[in-house]
Amino acid sequence: MSTLTYAVRDSKTMLRRNLIHMLRYPIALMLVGIPVILLLLFVYVFGGTLGAGLGGVSGGRAEYANYVLPGILLITVACAAQGTAISVAMDMTEGIIARFRTMAIFRPSVLTGHVLSSMIQTMLGLAVVIGVGLLVGFRPTANAIEWVAATGVLAMITLAVIWLSVACGLVTKSVETASNLPMPLILLPFLGSGFVPTDSMPAAVRLFADYQPFTPVMETLRGLLLGTAIGNNAILAVAWCVVITLASYLWAKKLYNRDPSR
């Protein structure tokens, strides 16, 4: 068998291992609670006022439910990232990792197993959040192709953020720290166009909001799901995702290949 077939086979084996972990200890899925609560909070508590501020025709709560959903989706991704970092950090303290290191297996497969199983959990979580969104007044205008594209965008940002959180889980020896490292990601939708349009922000915050990676992703999702203008946001979103994924993959791989005694 060639190296590639081994790489695929080992990754599949590790994915199976991580899926069993997921069923018996579903960390990332537990974190779906936070975005759902935020969604309810923002639609029912703040939605009336914030929605009026958007200045649309329908106004109020209904309009805000549409506006906020892409931001809530990215909060879901950020929460899942935290779960991934925790489970990677916890896994690295397990003795079996030392065993893997003394076996002739495709090395990154330990990591790809985590990434794939986190992807699956996050995509499930996103489906749950969208489902709750539909119940509380989210009314997408997307056709089938736009839904597929939106799913693709969500998958890309999820992959990028999860590779980043795998690296976060590897860079520290303590599970505690690992769970804190991806925390700032949860703030990014707030400091972007997730909850209010960026032009309502003070200049310095707005500068950050306009140029951070989550804003083009949220604008692209908004465009695909609700028919707003996308502009160059789609290209920016894809570019950000590719860059974050590649950089995080290389970083994570380097961290995993460190000599554990140094």
Partner: protein, 321 residues
Amino acid sequence: MATATSRSAIAIAVTGLRKSYGDNVVLDGIDLHIAEGTIFALLGPNGAGKTTMVQILSTLIGADGGHVRIAGRELTQEPDAVRDLIGVTGQFSAVDNLLTGEENLNLMADLRHLARTEGRRRTADLLAQFELTEAGKKQAVTYSGGMRRRLDLAMTLVGDPRIIFLDEPTAGLDPRSRRTMWQIIRDLVASGVTIFLTTQYLEEADQLADQIALLDHGRLIAEGTPDELKRLIPGGHIRLQFADLHGLESAARAFAESTRDDDTFTLQVPSDGGVRSLRALLDQLDMASIEVDSLSVHTPDLDDVFLTFTGQPDTERATVR
């Protein structure tokens, strides 16, 4: 160094191996040659560097210097080729706690790239061999220490490694499990496998090993077969306890080479601890009509070994450290 024929018979060749953690020199120039199909025991007190040695030889961590060849392959040049040949059971449990015993073994079979049916059959065989068939359906987190140890070794054996590293394989096992483990190790060697094991028990090394080396302060301070080493250790004796000074005195006269302790009324008579010498001693006591309160046989232990080779017992050294 070695000729073509003798090299193929060397499973593990180590020259000038060095490793430090900061200022702490753990391995300070180790040389070793372990023949194929034999059991090698590395003996040493806590912190001697046994685990460090196993970790280096099994490709887990890097060394600071020296060369290691495993089955003729340079460790640093072809780590994956070496990994294909070896199996490792570390000092600390290396099982996946969330998986069942059976799932753990299947995981190993898949990672060793066995065909599916072959892998599942191997799993079933190993579960039976290690008396884990029933427990195999339960998550490893629920296992007792002994069961976990057995699962750990079973996982190492999936894929039939030719060279096996066992870091304190019997630590924490009850006497029966320890004997079972010894038998498993003997069976493995009978099938041609080479075993590198570490232990803190001289008795274990004596029972199993073809070759023993003593590790202390980063150096091998003695090497040889169990008999060679024991011949060098004078620690064996029979300890006689008397009721009063009178008994002690007459016995001390009967055994010229003995050492007496007047405070506790005990006498130490040098002996190899065998049945023959014990009988001779009892006969002699009988003939001289000396009454003995109690008697205990003291065989050389790790302490005696270290006393002999370093001039101080290992326990004292441990506390000094």
